[in-house]
Symmetry: C2
Subunit: 155 residues, 2 copies
Amino acid sequence: MDAQPRWLDPEQKAAWDSFIRMQETLIGRLSRRVQADSGMSAADYIVLVSLTERGNGRMRFLELAKLVEWEKSRMSHQVTRMAKRGLVAREECADDGRGAFIVATPAGYKAIEEAAPQHVEHVRRLFIDALTPNQLKTFGRLSQRILDHMEKQLD
Amino acid sequence: MDAQPRWLDPEQKAAWDSFIRMQETLIGRLSRRVQADSGMSAADYIVLVSLTERGNGRMRFLELAKLVEWEKSRMSHQVTRMAKRGLVAREECADDGRGAFIVATPAGYKAIEEAAPQHVEHVRRLFIDALTPNQLKTFGRLSQRILDHMEKQLD
DNA sequence: CCCACAACGTTGATGCATCAACTTAACCCT
DNA sequence: AGGGTTAAGTTGATGCATCAACGTTGTGGG
């Protein structure tokens, strides 16, 4: 027979539920906000931020995918949509015939430069301002701890 | 002119980044796990849990939607897909001609009863076990605080 | 009584996420 | 040099999320 399932105790369940609801609410509000403010999706936003901040507006396809930790297929579809909207463009790669560069267009720069300050304000308002500096530090430390714990496991 | 954007300071940014990465990794792994273990999506899982635990397997459509905090449209599409897979069924409501009941089918019960213990194990392994009991309590308390803070705001 | 309005839920369109299969170019090994 | 393998990226199918528009049934006021 199977072992009895070890359900969460009330305190564990309360912590888990709070976290899940908080995270859903927060992420949901932020993505609806970026959408409403800028017309971009959250995915558009993160791609453009990564591309412009870390790649100076031009990056190899897979490098970009690794940076944001997306599968290449997801990135490819995303780039296709963004290219259709004029936010980025694909460019051939001279020294690797298979490869591609993704470049932010002027419209892409404009979009991200307008969207970023608003986004930061929302992050502040919804998240940062909810906690004292010490609490925020603790929360970040614990998040990092959970992340490290997960990364030690295969999956 | 616009005010200068107030970017996050390094400590704030570190906390935000840790949280975002942790939360994406955690939610991503859990939903891939429930998919692989049971063939259900995370959405299927949450609907069936709510329906069976809180509604005894039978609930009014909007009551269910409110319980999981989904828009009715999202729930309607989800129920359509789940009905197609035989996990739930729609039933007419005698005393309200507009209304509908959603009921968990035997296959739905079977699916959730098999999936739930595995899901709890994954939550334990990825999240609960990452922290000491005190840390977990703190993390839950801070999450709740952020949630309360957000709920005081219109959006 | 009847009509406007609200509540209940569905539908269609569009964009995003994930998986598996595929193409093409580079690399390596003998 | 040739052939198998790996790397880079695309494509198609399917399911999920969101928004706006819609059809129906109940309800409350004149």
